[in-house]
């Protein structure tokens, strides 16, 4: 016997058109097997063409199946009653959960009756009639065998209520022969084999197509930890900037190097047990360089090196206490001291990224240990300007360009600065690090020459990483509770790239459009040489299901306010998602931000993106189309609407009117304030709108230009109110 798919094809060849249900009947097979055969035929290409249709069908529930097998609950009750009757409790005990319902149905059917003969004893149940007909079972049998049409709908409804039946929707296939119809199936091989290669049979073999919608197999590779991937990036940046790595592999430190060497007074709150982990074993250290220790003691208690000192009794016992270092600046202090001991001072650029410890209250963003990133530059004649410059270079390499500095206090730096960066996502300035110039009271006792200044800056590794990967709880990033799946899914770390996938998408689109623009420019020049006249661009059609990216670039000083007005009109026709971005070529966005819509990017017909960038003229890019000038952007968008409905703004109007609009648009090509003021005022003196008595495209442009120039004469204000009112309609 031939296989099922072949049988299906032969049957199809015979009857011309059939369905999965018919086939199941014809072959007396379960419909699922037929569906399997159809699927395998579909995978062959165009042998058959299929179409899915849905059929509602009654189906027995588990309880219904039981009834079909055992009889209805009421019939079973009836059959359990012997000729002489039975005690009710005894009867019920012999039944399952179905007993109760069966009993009440049998009662209401008038099959049985209850007799209370003995006042003390239990009631007995008697048969009321001699024999019964189990109609429920018979009905269910009919339904099961596909003859459900012979059962009354009302009855089926009742059975549904009794949970004997349920209504299911079945998917069936309608089959016709396809363009490559054949009854002979060549079973397509799935993979290329060594035999095919050696025999050369691959030349004639047709491989089964791959399902490209499925995911590939997991690679099963080991992965590096996300935080340490970020650490590697920071390390790389320091190395690129010529910074050498400090040996920070000593977590246990003495108070002397952690605090006293940094001119941090012994009563400073940071030296409190509430903030610092002290060590009980090994409790103290005392091998400090003797003369250096004396200089430190003096500068704290009495001053010197130009300083008044703190004027307190400095105690070696306090300095000897061991602790877990609270900052890697302790390491920097050791390195600077070492540097001062050399016979000749050599300029230094140093960094470290390592763990530090704080006995702090733990919360979602704070742990008792974290990684500190620290950079230090030591040289003659360094200034605060250098400090800002170094920090700026460092953060630029991280992709952070908007920085500002706030005066701050730190016991070992003066001047001290907190570093803030503008976070686009949060829309505010956030603190990202600390910096300053180390105090002379710290440097001079070490023996560093006068005139050598030292820049220091630091930040935590965890915080920027959490922001980058949008992790809210630090325990999801470090420690043993980290989810290994997160570790596996974590992308490679490209620190300078925007963290937001949407931002990256825009960047990629931008790049693509830049390339298209470049090529278009080239082709236009070529056409000019050949003397070909370019054809005006028409709007790209927006098809069903397809979506269009429309990107408008504009100078921040020339916010295209008309876009907001157009958006209002376009939203009546299209599902539009919007976003507004600022390109790195400009400092600040323009004053117009496109109102956000509730349409998601994925479901939008048009994805409208406004980018503020360093461009000469407002320009729109959509597909391969690129048009310059705000007036032409408006023309383009109006055409987009006109494809679907009449915008009533431009080309759908009578030709004479269109000519008037065009002339107004042309007069406004000169966008100087003077021209805009005189042109618009002149026109609206005589009529309600710039191109006559009706709102047109020309008004949107003119109004936008007036807003850009901040022109607010009473006449213009009244006119722009009229426009807003019309737009609301």
């Amino acid at each position: 016997m031939q296989d099922l798919p072949t049988a299906v094809l032969l049957e199809l060849a015979k009857v011309g058109e059939t369905t999965s249900v018919n086939l199941a009947e014809a072959f007396n097979l379960d419909v699922q097997r037929i569906v399997g055969a159809i699927k395998s035929l579909e995978s062959l290409g165009d042998v058959i063409s299929t179409e899915i249709y849905q059929v509602k069908k009654w189906q027995l529930t588990k309880e219904g199946e039981e009834v079909l097998k055992e009889g209805s609950h009421e019939a079973r009750i009836f059959s359990k009653i012997p000729a002489g009757g039975i005690d009710q409790p005894k009867l019920m005990a012999s039944c399952g959960a179905w007993g109760k319902i069966g009993f009440s149905k049998a009662m209401s059917n008038g099959w049985i009756l209850i007799q209370k003969t003995n006042p003390q004893g239990a009631p007995t149940v008697q048969r009321k009639i001699d024999s019964i007909e189990d109609q429920v079972k018979a009905h269910l049998y009919l339904i099961k065998s596909g003859k459900d049409s012979s059962v009354d709908d009302k009855v089926k409804g009742d059975y549904k209520k009794r949970k004997l039946l349920e209504e299911v929707t079945e998917k069936h296939y309608r089959l016709r022969s396809g363009p490559n119809f054949t009854t002979k199936i060549e079973k397509a091989p799935t993979e290329l084999t060594p035999e095919m290669i050696s025999s050369g049979s691959w030349k004639t073999t047709k491989l089964k197509p791959y399902n490209l919608d499925a995911l590939g197999m997991e690679t099963g590779a080991g992965c590096l930890h996300p935080l340490l991937k970020v650490r590697a990036e920071y390390r790389q940046i320091f190395l690129e900037m010529g910074f050498s790595e400090m040996p920070a592999n000593n977590y246990v430190e003495s108070s002397f190097w952690n605090f006293d060497a940094l001119f941090q007074p012994q009563q400073h709150p940071a030296r409190d047990a509430h903030d610092t982990f002290f060590i009980s074993d090994p409790q103290t250290s005392n091998r400090f360089p003797e003369d250096y220790k004396k200089r430190v003691e003096k500068v704290h208690s009495k001053g010197g090196f130009g300083s008044q000192g703190y004027g307190y009794d400095w105690k070696i016992e306090e300095a000897s206490k061991n602790l877990l270092r609270t900052h890697t600046t302790a390491v920097s202090a050791r390195m600077l001291y070492r540097c001062a001991q050399q016979s000749k001072f050599v300029p230094q650029k140093l960094f470290s990224i390592d763990r530090v410890f704080r006995n702090e209250t733990l919360d979602a963003t704070h742990l008792a240990e974290f990684h500190q990133i620290e950079g230090v530059v030591a040289d003659y004649g360094l200034t605060l300007g250098h400090c800002i410059g170094v920090i700026n270079t460092f953060f630029t390499k991280l992709g952070i360009e908007k920085l500002r500095f706030k005066p701050a206090y730190n016991p070992y730096t003066e001047p001290s600065m907190e570093i803030f960066s503008y976070h686009d996502g949060l829309g505010k300035w956030v603190e990202i690090g600390n910096s300053g110039m180390f105090r002379p009271e710290m440097l001079l006792p070490m023996g560093l020459p006068e005139g050598v200044n030292v820049i220091g800056f630091g930040l935590s590794l965890e915080r920027p990483t959490m922001i980058k990967y949008k992790i809210d709880n630090i325990r999801d990033l470090v420690g043993h509770r980290v989810n290994l799946d997160m570790v596996k899914r974590n992308p490679i770390c490209r620190i300078e790239k925007a963290g937001d996938p949407e931002e990256r998408r825009i960047q990629m689109l931008n790049k693509r459009f830049d390339k298209i623009e470049e090529r278009l420019d080239f082709l236009q020049k070529k056409m000019k040489c050949l003397g070909v006249k370019p054809v005006a661009a028409s709007a790209l059609p927006v098809g069903e299901g397809a979506s269009l990216d429309v990107i408008v670039k504009s100078k921040p000083s020339r916010s295209p306010f008309s876009l907001a007005a157009m958006l209002k009109l376009m939203r009546k026709t299209f599902k539009i998602s919007t976003s507004t971005h600022t390109h790195s070529s400009v400092d600040k966005p323009g004053s117009l931000k496109l109102p956000e819509t509730e349409v998601s990017r994925a479901s939008a017909d048009i994805r409208l993106t406004l980018i503020y960038a360093d461009v000469d003229n407002t320009v729109v890019t959509a597909g391969q189309t690129r048009i310059q000038g705000e007036e032409n952007v408006l023309r383009y968008l109006a055409r987009l609407i006109d494809q679907k409905t009449d915008s009533g703004l431009y080309e759908t109007l009578p030709t004479a009117q269109v000519a008037v609009i065009d002339s107004v648009l042309d007069r406004l090509v000169d966008t100087s304030k003077h021209n805009v003021t005189t042109t618009v005022s002149g026109l609206i003196n005589k009529q309600s709108f710039v191109a006559g008595g009706k709102l047109t495209l020309a008004d949107l442009l003119a109004c936008s230009l007036c807003q850009q120039h901040n022109i607010t004469s009473p006449g213009i204000q009244a006119w722009s109110k009229r426009i807003s009112k019309q737009l609301e309609l």
Partner: protein, 577 residues
């Protein structure tokens, strides 16, 4: 950093101008303050008021009250000139006589008098609030210094500062009507949420410090409380301030700050009456309100800040920061540091004020010419290279804490804590931070435990530092860079872990020593409590034991709440540097 709460209306009234929140935030930012939060609070009459919470630099005690903040901002904006604080010269000074008995508990006292003060509710609250801020920050929770303020018209000098046995001091404390001995007060305040924190400062001392007036009326029991008798009220005109301290320098700063801020409300503003202290036959007069001068060169300022300002410009900038400055004939600048600016202890503090007044964000960014050749730390370079290679071998990297419980490194690993060279933490807040880890394996096993739901096998590794107590080093402990890996599956997979070791050795170019000599690495059977008997080996490289591998003991596995076999490896990679 301390945060102060200021009512917006009071602030704007003081500044003589209204600001939007953004404008005020901007002003704060430039001056080095941070507008932390804006909240709405109900005042005593149930009226809603907007309150600004402003973060102040920890060294600027002169900004801890609205008076000082407004004064500094107005000077910064060149709207007022810098006030001049003066000592008045009354015929007879109030006197504090110090008895030597205080030496063992709180040795110093100094005082001052503010005459003709006009209090309002706001001013009174601010006065109390400033004392509290100074107690908390500068005076380290009253341990270093504390002040008591009294209505001078209710008491009579000279005042005696002495120490007496707790039961011998008896008075009605602030906000009470009944007399208590100081011993009883210790009991009374032991449940007081505000005061109980200060009790330990004197509680165990055999004698407590106390100040009496000429009529033996108790003024205060420093640093705990004052007497109800001399309490200042809104009607008080003359305020007597006493400041007792263990650190005289801090005491002077506290007193200077308090009097310079609130002498603003005296009949003669900014005029302060000093008080003499007589101790062991020596008389000293406080506050001194000392104006200190510092002469600086414009080249030094420009050289540190990275700007190019003339001496006159620098003097103008400094005046904005309350540092009166004048340019001398030789172009040096003499800067006068007022008694409000105890934070200025070095010329570099003055340079910073120039930079702040100039505006940090107006300074031109420059790149230092410093030429250096970057060097990686060899151990970190090796670590990063090995991390890549181990991950390429199919193991996923974990990042575990360097602190853990004693049980993690000892009991759970079937070892005794006494035998482990662990560094112990003296003041852990929780069990998780009792010791610095001595091995990476416990952290890896905890990671496995937290990820039991992941598909098997779990293959994890970590290359990181452990800490060993080592009395041969300067601090008595040292870090050691370890590589550890675990394989957790239904079968122990010893061969997998062994394979990883072989791979690491291959990468480090250490050959297998077939004859178990110093020519390379080999395994030697060796029992260890953490491993299953007969399933553990030491790893010897070039004759040195560098670590261990094997199948973990079932009690270790269950100790970490696991239930499948697990093989493990941990080696020290420092010998391969």
């Amino acid at each position: 950093m301390p945060t102060i709460s200021i009512k917006r209306e009071v602030l704007f009234q003081g500044l003589g101008q209204r600001y939007t929140e953004e404008e005020f935030d901007e002003l704060c930012f430039e001056f080095g303050l941070e507008l932390d939060e804006v909240v709405t609070e109900k005042d005593d009459n149930g009226k809603e008021e907007v309150v600004y919470k402003i973060e102040i630099g920890a060294n600027r005690y002169d900004l801890l009250c609205v008076e000082g903040l407004v004064r500094a901002l107005l000077v910064f904006q060149s709207k007022i000139s810098i006030p001049k604080y003066e000592l008045s010269k009354p015929g007879k000074l109030e006197r504090l006589e110090v008895d030597p008995s205080v030496d063992c508990v709180r040795p110093h006292v100094i005082g001052a008098v503010l005459r003709g003060v006009t209090f309002t509710k706001e001013r009174y609250d601010s006065f109390i609030e400033l004392q509290d801020k100074l107690h908390q920050n500068l005076a380290r929770k009253r341990t270093l210094a504390s002040v008591g303020t009294h209505d001078l018209d209710t008491i009579k000098g000279p005042f005696k500062y002495m120490a007496k046995a707790p039961k011998d001091i008896k008075f009605v404390p602030l906000n009470h009507t009944k007399e208590f001995t100081s011993a009883e007060l210790m009991e009374l305040y032991s449940t007081d949420s505000h005061l109980k924190a200060y009790l330990p400062i004197i509680r165990d001392s055999p004698v407590y410090p106390v100040i009496y007036d000429a009529n033996n009326v108790v003024l205060s029991l420093p640093p705990i409380t004052n007497s109800e008798h001399s309490k200042i009220t809104l009607k008080t005109k003359n305020v007597f301030i006493e400041c007792t301290c263990t650190d005289l320098t801090k005491g002077k700063v506290v007193l200077d700050t308090l009097v310079t801020m609130f002498s603003q409300y005296c009949t003669k503003p900014f005029s302060i009456e000093p008080v003499e202290t007589v101790s062991k036959g020596q008389t000293s007069v406080h506050p001194t309100l000392k104006y200190r001068t510092e002469t600086i060169k414009s080249e030094s300022v420009n050289g540190l800040v990275g700007v190019n300002q003339t001496p006159t410009e620098i003097a103008t900038l400094l005046s904005k920061m309350c540092l009166e400055s004048k340019v001398n004939k030789d172009n040096t600048i003499t800067v006068t540091i007022p008694p409000t600016r105890h934070d200025v202890i070095h010329p570099c503090d003055i340079y910073e004020d120039v930079a702040i007044a100039y505006g940090y964000n107006n300074i031109v960014k420059t790149t230092p010419q410093t030429l250096t050749v970057a060097q990686q730390l060899p151990i970190n370079k090796l670590t990063d290279q090995l991390r890549e290679s181990v991950a390429q071998s199919g193991f996923t990297e974990a990042l575990t804490f360097s602190l853990c419980s004693r049980d993690d490194v000892a009991a759970k690993m079937r070892k005794k804590i006494e035998n482990i060279p662990a560094v112990h933490i003296a003041n852990p807040k929780t069990l998780e931070f009792q010791v610095a880890r001595t091995a990476l394996l416990p952290g890896l096993l905890k990671t496995v435990q937290a990820n039991r739901k992941m598909p098997l096998p779990l293959k994890l590794f970590e290359i990181s530092d452990v800490v060993h107590k080592d009395l041969g080093t300067e601090v008595g402990a040292r870090n050691e860079r370890h590589l550890a890996a675990v394989f957790y599956n239904k079968t122990p997979g010893f061969e997998i872990i062994h394979g990883l070791l072989d791979r690491v050795m291959q990468l480090l170019e250490v050959p297998l020593s077939m004859d178990k000599s110093t020519s390379g690495y080999y395994l030697q059977s060796s029992e260890d409590a953490s491993y299953f008997p007969g399933r553990a080996a030491e790893i010897v490289a070039y004759g040195q034991v560098i670590g261990r591998l094997g199948v973990l003991h079932p009690e270790v596995i269950t100790g970490f709440d696991l239930n499948l076999p697990c093989s493990a490896l941990e080696i020290n990679i420092e010998p391969f540097l």
